[in-house]
Structures are given as C-alpha cells and as structure tokens.
C-alpha cells in the first residue's frame, strides 16, 4: 500500500519525540502514539483532566470510571503518576511545561493556523475542551491527520475556512503522505511516505509546498 496507515503515522510521530518528553495526546490517531514509544525512550503522558503518568488502556473488566483520559476513556496510571485538579493541570499546559502535544486537525494553514474544534455551522453545538489551551501553551504542536478529507478536499490550505483553534501554532504536520514543517517561508516537505511523490502531495494540498532536501523530490 502506498503511503502510511494510521499506525505508521503515529509511529512516525513518536520517532520525533525526544526521550524524557512530557506529552499530551489528542483523540483519534494521536492516541496511537502511546503504542509506539521507541524502545530506548521514556515519555510521560499527561491528560488534562488531572493525571501525569497516564498508562495504557486497562484490560476489559478492570476499567475504573474514575480513572479516565481527556477523551473520557478508561486508562491506567503508571507507577510514579500524580493526580491533580484542573487548575493545576492547566498550569502544566498554559505555563509551557508540556513538551509536545499531538493533535488531529480539520484544517491547517500554511502559517500554522489550526482548525480542529468546530465546523462553524449554524446548528452545530460547539465544543472546545482543552484544545485552545493546548495549542496556546504547549511548546511543540504536532498535527497528525489524513492528508485530505474523506471527500478528497485538502486539509492543508492557504487559509483555514473553519473557526480557528489557534493562530500560527502548528510546528509540524504528519499525514498519510508526508511530513511537513511549518516555517516562516511556508510549508516545507521534510519526508515523503513510501511510494508517494512530491507531485502527488502537492496535488492534494491547497497551498504551494516548498522542498528543502533532494530526497523529497524522489
């Protein structure tokens, strides 16, 4: 199969996270990142509802409704974990103590604007949760998303048309086709997924892409 599947995307993200990092994972593909921590590294996962040191999903039958993640799914706590209240949790987030946040996206702009919380439709019930706090406060924002929508529309665009989560907040984008960096000059293609050409990535992207290194033209 051409390109990366969801697991491969998550694994590719995990490879870029340094040892000892404090990491917050969004819902969806970002959650899979926890399964791909490189063998020689230790990440500490934070969930904004009050747990540092989040561990894997518990075995069926041993879920605790009072031990959940921000997506309200049952989780576990590793030895060395800590519980805290919401204001303390957002000291970690707003105060810039979390190293990496991995989030999904509806749209990302060339400048790193992110839209991932609302379609802005008149009858939609908007729900923001901690997304705006995370993008404003966490040191490095990584987006992992399919390159296009289910109907083939580009998600990486010149300007977001959906309501923003934050302006100029994204650092790097991982899709099923490529890895892209948000820079002052624009989006630079850092890596192509196996079997994917730069032309194909460009064709599925709503904004002109830059390349930095020769291998991106392969």
């Amino acid at each position: 199969m051409k390109g990366w599947n969801r697991e491969e995307m998550a694994q590719r993200v995990a490879e870029d996270i340094p040892d000892g990092a404090y990491v917050n994972l969004g819902i969806g593909i970002p959650e899979l990142v926890a399964q791909f921590v490189p063998r020689d590294r230790e990440f500490v996962f934070q969930t904004e509802n009050g747990l540092l040191g989040m561990g894997p999903t518990p075995p069926a039958g041993s879920e605790d409704p009072e031990l959940i993640n921000a997506g309200k799914k049952a989780v576990t706590a590793i030895p060395g974990a800590a519980y805290f209240h919401h204001a303390d949790s957002f000291i970690m987030i707003r105060g810039g103590h979390i190293d990496v946040c991995v989030l999904g996206a509806m749209q990302v702009s060339a400048r790193g604007d992110l839209a991932n919380w609302s379609t802005g439709e008149a009858d939609a019930i908007p729900a923001v949760g901690g997304a705006m706090d995370l993008v404003a406060g966490v040191k490095r924002i990584l987006i992992v998303t399919e390159h296009t929508t289910k109907t083939g529309e580009p998600k990486i665009v010149a300007e977001c048309t959906y309501p923003l989560t934050g302006r100029a907040v994204v650092d790097r984008i991982y899709t099923n086709l490529a890895v892209l960096d948000v820079t002052g000059e624009g989006l630079i293609v850092r890596e192509l997924a196996p079997g994917v050409t730069l032309e194909e990535v460009q064709a599925k992207t709503g904004v002109r892409l830059l390349t930095s290194t020769p291998e991106c033209a392969r």
């Binding site: 969930t47 919401h86 707003r94 404003a136 309501p163």
Partner: protein, 236 residues
C-alpha cells in the same frame, strides 16, 4: 463543635433559589455529584446558571436537570459527548444559553473567583472566535485576552472522604474541578462516599482544606452515570 454534615442531600440543597448560579463538579461522569444533582431536581429551582465542564449524558444527573428546564444558561467547555442529547436539542431550539469557555480558561476563571482575583490574562483563544468581544492586551510582545473570575452561589462537588471540618480527599481523576469549585461558591456542598474521623486524613494529604466546605452529605454507594445511561434510566 464544628460539624458540617447535613441531614440529607435534600436538606443540603433546600435553599437553592430560582436564578442561582451553581458550579457542578465532574469531568464527564468522573466526579459528577449525581445524588446532589438529583436532590436539586427534586427541590426544583429554575432559571439556574450552571457552570460545569460538560452537559451530562442520557437523562440522569446534569442532563436530567437540563431536561427538566431548570437551567437557563450553561457555562462549559464541552457541551456534547457520547449520549449527550438533551443540551444540544434545547440549545438548537433556543431554550438554553451557552457560554463556551476553553477548559483551562474555565478552570482558571473558577480558581480566580475563589482567590479574590477579578480578572487575569491568558494567551488561550487569542485569534479565535472565543476571544471575540474580549479585551486584548500585549505583554512582552505576545497578545493575551482578559478573562474574568467566576463565582457561584452554590458549588456541588463529589469527593471521596471528608472529616467533620470538611477536609476532603478525592479519588483519581474524579478530583478534576472539585477542589477549585469548592473555593468559588458562597455555599459549597460536597457529597462523599464516607466520613473520616478527625485526624484520620493526614494533614499532608488533604486536597481541599475544610475552610472551603460548608455542607457534607454522605452517599455511601453513589450511582454511576454511565451505568444508569446504559440501563436507559431517566430521573426522576
């Protein structure tokens, strides 16, 4: 002798008046004081403003309070989730107002309300629709939005254990909004699973010091929202 135990959940919420502002703890079902909410449904005050992270699920707890038409306005960060139909329906019909607040800003607004801080600045939501109409200001070359402290007439909170002074400990991620909501209300009502003897909670481990707690209701085996929803229960 100080003893903050109330006779019952009904007695604890009996003086909640029409038009009151009420903070309700919990993140989803974790920490949601479902028995206190049900007592509030029985008591029947209307035109409430409720500050809570979510809007409940199914037709029990907070969702039931909303379904009964007792809530005029919700201040929350995430008003929809799996099994959450009540709020969306009423909101689409224009029967309930929504003030949407980013989760960290919501938490800090509550903490500031309890701490005597009328306003603070945050970078969260700058450049988004949730900062529209709010005061922006630059500090050290970055832009921030001013947010106001939040206070309530009552807070309804679920903790794990209390002593007669009102010292509280919580359980796991059910702690969430409880400790800050205890500080930000004129009257704080807490349901706990059990009472502890004075001195049984190590002073180093107290999460909410008793000064922030007014009334304690013991609910030894609290109901679990997700179980009630799965069973299709409806309160009352």
């Amino acid at each position: 002798m100080i003893d903050k135990r109330a006779e019952s959940a009904a007695a604890a919420v009996a003086d909640v008046r029409h038009g009151a502002t009420i903070m309700i703890g919990g993140f989803g079902e974790a920490g949601s004081p479902i028995e206190l909410i049900h007592a509030l449904i029985d008591a029947g005050p209307r035109h409430l403003t409720v500050i809570s992270n979510n809007t409940g699920s199914g037709r029990v707890g907070l969702a039931a309070l909303i379904a009964r038409g007792q809530v005029r306005k919700m201040i929350c960060s995430y008003p929809r989730s799996a099994n959450s139909m009540v709020f969306p329906e009423l909101h689409r019909r224009g029967e309930i107002e929504l003030e949407l607040v980013p989760q960290g800003t919501l938490a800090e607004r509550i903490r500031c309300g309890g701490a005597g801080i009328p306003a603070f600045y945050t970078a969260t939501a700058v450049g988004t629709v949730l900062a529209q109409g709010k005061e922006l200001r630059r500090f050290d070359d970055s832009e921030y939005v001013m947010e106001r402290g939040l206070r309530a007439d009552f807070s309804l909170v679920k903790a794990d254990r209390a002593d007669r002074y009102g010292n509280l400990v919580y359980r796991r991620t059910a702690r969430n909004f409880g400790p800050i909501m205890c500080t930000a209300a004129t009257t704080t009502i807490v349901q706990v699973r059990e009472m502890a003897e004075v001195g049984a909670i190590d002073p180093e481990h107290v999460v909410t010091p008793g000064i922030f707690v007014d009334r304690i209701v013991v609910i030894p085996e609290p109901q679990q929202e997700s179980v009630l929803v799965k069973e299709g229960r409806c309160y009352p």
